[in-house]
Assembly symmetry: C2
Homo-oligomer: 184 residues x 2
DNA sequence: ATACGCATGTAAGATGTTACATGATTAA
DNA sequence: TTAATCATGTAACATCTTACATGCGTAT
């Protein structure tokens, strides 16, 4: 139930309406977690039922501002410290790579070349983000910079891996028929 | 619809029953993609309806062996070369990190310390796997080694990032009250 | 007046998880 | 004979995606 915890985390920083929280997903959480308003509105209602948040009076245009409750804060802390990172593994990029052997090897090389370029583009985006965000000295911004740094490292590592993989394919091309029936 | 493509990829290597494909998810795909038999059986039935696979006659204990069809192979290749990596971003680890500022900073440091240890344990597991798998010179094993290498790089990078982050927290501790209201 | 952005929701369908349910074969 | 493994499925529930639907407020 990570959507719930993402919402608790955002509300711990400051209260907000469903609409505004949707925007925060698009802006600050864009590279970490995605969610749309059609998920967020009903989830906020369920969280209110569970006592994790409360809605203030309706403002203009039916706007409802949610605040986190002490129970909500406790649940957030419980989630942060419970130590279990249990999302089942689903890495579409690696899944593709795993089956790439079914392609002719010039296409495999082209694939990794493109992966590398996409990763480098992502790296440039992160650098740009870092430049644009007016970081302050708050704890949330310190963690924001730490998360962004991991994004940068991941992108860089991905580019390097893709380049290395392209090299392996090129090296293997001479020694081995990739689609070969050479299985032992 | 990545489950479908994962199944096509596995069947491109060799035919198999639902039960056996479930095992292949647990063994070769364990660190890449997860799926359970309760997903796999109905999906294979749908794929047979769509003409991507065909079931042979029933064997012992009702065993049905599925083979990939030319249409299935074409669909696999289309997926591999269609270039769009569109999974919506969902990284629970980074999500947690993003909200860690709500904890006292000794707990943040402990969190990163544990992250580092878990990543190093993962790295050791990958090394062990690499040692145990009887790699051959086939294309599928070459790609298998390339994917495993990325697992190793990711784990190593994660450990380094966690160590770096712990250092940043320690450095910030002196300069800044992490939960501080110092927002500009 | 009208278009854009604010603001909230519902509905249908796809996908994933957990639990339930059954029975055959084989090795000890 | 009995426990483990092979083998297949269904059901209920949670979650996520995409599309549909409505109306207010504000600037041009």
């Amino acid at each position: 139930m990570s959507l719930r915890h993402a919402l608790l985390g955002l509300l711990e920083d400051q209260p907000g309406s469903g609409y505004e929280l949707t925007k925060r997903f698009e802006l600050s959480l864009a590279n970490v977690w995605s969610a749309t308003h059609s998920q967020i509105y009903p989830e906020l209602a369920r969280m209110a039922d569970a006592g994790l948040v409360v809605a203030g009076e309706e403002g203009a245009r039916g706007r409802k501002e949610y605040r986190i409750t002490p129970e909500g804060s406790a649940e957030l802390r419980r989630w942060l410290t419970s130590g279990r990172n249990d999302r089942s593994i689903r890495n579409e990029g690696l899944l593709r790579a795993f089956f790439l052997w079914t392609l002719p090897d010039d296409e495999i090389a082209a694939y990794f070349q493109r992966e590398r370029e996409l990763a480098l583009a992502r790296l440039r985006e992160f650098d740009e983000l870092d430049r644009l965000i007016p970081w302050d000295r708050s704890g949330s911004d310190l963690m924001g910079r730490i998360v962004l740094e991991q994004g940068r490292r991941l992108a860089k590592g991905h580019a390097q891996w893709a380049a290395w993989a392209a090299g392996e394919i090129a090296a293997g091309r001479d020694a081995t028929d990739l689609k070969g029936r050479i299985r032992s």
